[in-house]
Amino acid sequence: MMRAAWTLLLVVAGFALQAVSYFFLAAPLGVPTGPVYSNPRVPFAPAVFILGVMLVFLAAVVYELLPESGGRTHRGTG
């Protein structure tokens, strides 16, 4: 349950970061009528978008690696 929650959180956070950086932090959408359309509204907005893409895929690692709820962990396999 805990694992699923963390996974879902990462997926939602990843997509949210992508959407926020694309629509609100990066250069505005629309017909470019001035330099404001060329520069991001917040510096490093593209980096936030990339972080969002990575978070979505990182969710798969969390889903597989996070131990079962209740703190049960596996030690090495050797």
Binding site: L29, M54, F57, A60, V61, T77
Partner: protein
Amino acid sequence: MSVQVQRLPYGVGRFQVGFWLFILVLLSVVGWGIYAYSRQLVEGLVVTGLRDIGTMGGAAWGLYIAFDVYFVGVSFAGITMAALIRLLRLEELRPVSRMAELLTIVALVLAAFSVLPDLGQPVRGIVNLLRYARPQSPFFGTFTLVISGYLFASLVYFYLDGRRDAALLARIPSPLQGFYRLWAAGYRDTPAERERHHRAAFWLAIAIVPLLVTAHSTLGFVFGIQSGRPGWFSTLQAPAFVVMAGVSGIGLLLVIAAVFRHVLGERERLHEAIFRWLGGLLALLVLVYLYFTVAELLTTTYTGHETEVRLTLALLTGPYAWLFWVSMGALVLGLVALLLPYVPSVVPVRVPSFRPAFTRAAGLAAAGAGLLLMIHRHGPRLAPAAGAGPEPEWVGWVLAGLAVVFVLSWFPLFARSVVAAGVAGGLLVNVAAVGKRLLIVVPSQTHGTLLPYGPGSYTPTWVEYSVVAGLFALGTLLYTLFVKVFPIMEVAEEQ
């Protein structure tokens, strides 16, 4: 210890003299590439053949960008195959799954490294991309979705898919045991863990397929939406990029699978059905690409803008004709080679047959003619420089003719062996892919300007060739080293 190390499957952990020699050769080429790049960093892009479009009569994008597009294309095969194997349950292709995934990762690393030399100030380029890039721009899509998203997704998929094997290998005492334990991260291959992995891999595959189509399309859009550049501005650019990506990637995968089949002696696991399946898929993609090419040529020559027609004629009969026809010839020959094993024996097809001595002579002559051509021109010129003397065009055509004879002489073998046909087809379509990438990138800059400039030229220098050779060596090095520390195919429980 050595007895235990030898228990690791698929030659993992076995380092013989031949291996070290191979690594030494690869390191030498990588070192030479780094030296060439250092010259470029110190002296600037003037040591390359890259020049401004129009005013300097050159091409600002050349070999580096062409190979960037090529490497991104090659990366297509890996994760696509892995995802399709998972989604469509193509179990018979599972043995090539990891090879394909590794090919994707290595190719994407090389693609990233190919772009950097094209930038005069690489560090500034990277920082400014993260700081100022507009997400609406296809350039941004290329570098975020392809280099970051696609590479990261591939690494995640590769890592999770390898945990089971890492857990199995961690049971065997070896110097790499700690590494395998770290990779396995507690995985014990219980039914619950297996089920969880299947579920995660399924959703990853679902997420990756649209990502990779988007990623390859954005690369096509970098060229396709430039309305002021004849030859690039085309709706077909993005789908053609995706299809050619599949062609080059699956072609290379066929070659890699054949190499491992031979080197590891795994004829049963890497069975002929795999080559038949991949060869069939490759042939289909080549047919689609040929259709796109014909459709594009018909459109541009029939009703195209004057500049568009001029550019197309430069490709068909002008200075780029040798590269265009060699690429198309390689594509068609590759297709024929791939289809030969499917010709039923009852169909009376006469496959040309040559004496082995003649074949070897043709191959040697082709290589010799190629060398002469390079020495004469100080590197293969993609378009004649303004004011340059008459070019020995016939040398190029003789070279192409000898190469065709050389390939034709192997046709009887291709008709008998689906593996040989796959290797030949894979190599030929990759020759075509490199040629087509160069033809997409360069001619539109030298012959496609709408401003009143005369035709330009582009001749790569030794620096560019050395850097590209270094990149190929680096890719081979990474692939080879990985194969020595981790099984290139899934490990069976009994192994």
